[in-house]
Symmetry: C2
Subunit: 134 residues, 2 copies
């Protein structure tokens, strides 16, 4: 079921500073910041050879990152996203096995315009896992 | 400086259970568990198309994972490892820029038998970053 690691998301309190660290100190290729108000984040993509890191900064009120950054004020690894070929088949198979899907189980449109779902961290060794159909 | 994402490490309280989740529910290819007493961990590699996830369980007294799992009893994302071509050159460049290297700055031999260093999470947006020479 699992394909590639699409991205690793890191929540950061200061996107400009984190971007500068990756770009200027680690010499990585970084994108321009993109505001995604519907997701409550501003994102910078760090493009690596085989996958990407997404630096996420809260945007607006009620950002899904707010509680995480309250608990981890310096930032931290927020989730990992795996690609799947068929997100509805993946969901049904995981739910049948007793895994909890966050929300009402209906895929939402993710930051890349593709359908995504999140698995409950308690079912995934404490890790927030995103599945993205590609 | 940064090459591929070599692996994403997830600390887990129960390696057998986490392995079963990835193997049986997510249909991923997983390795046999490998005890690495010199690193204080037992590791299972989840082999994905473009990179790997390392599931880490504490091994023995004084495991470097013990404090992390005390803070995160369900487990969680522990570090991300980036490949570099020349670890001493990378270290010198980062130290010159004011970044802190954990330990005494001398590369150690990592889980794959290659020289590794860890960057201070406070300098990397709260994320523990491993550099591995490949």
């Amino acid at each position: 079921m699992l394909g590639r690691v699409n991205h690793i998301a890191i929540a950061v309190p200061d996107l400009a500073q984190a971007t500068a660290t990756y770009r200027d100190l680690l010499n990585a290729r970084v994108s321009q910041p993109q505001a995604l108000p519907e997701h409550g984040v501003t994102v910078v993509f760090v493009e690596l050879e085989n996958t990407k890191v997404e630096l996420l900064e809260p945007l607006g009120e009620g950002s899904p990152l707010a509680a995480f950054l309250e608990k981890n004020p310096s930032g931290g690894m927020h989730h990992i996203c795996y690609e799947v070929a068929d997100i509805l088949a993946a969901r049904d198979q995981l739910q049948l096995a007793g895994m909890r899907i966050l929300g009402d189980g209906t895929p939402k449109t993710g930051a890349h315009g593709k359908p995504v779902l999140f698995l409950h961290p308690k079912d995934m060794a404490g890790t927030l896992v995103e599945l993205e159909e590609v």
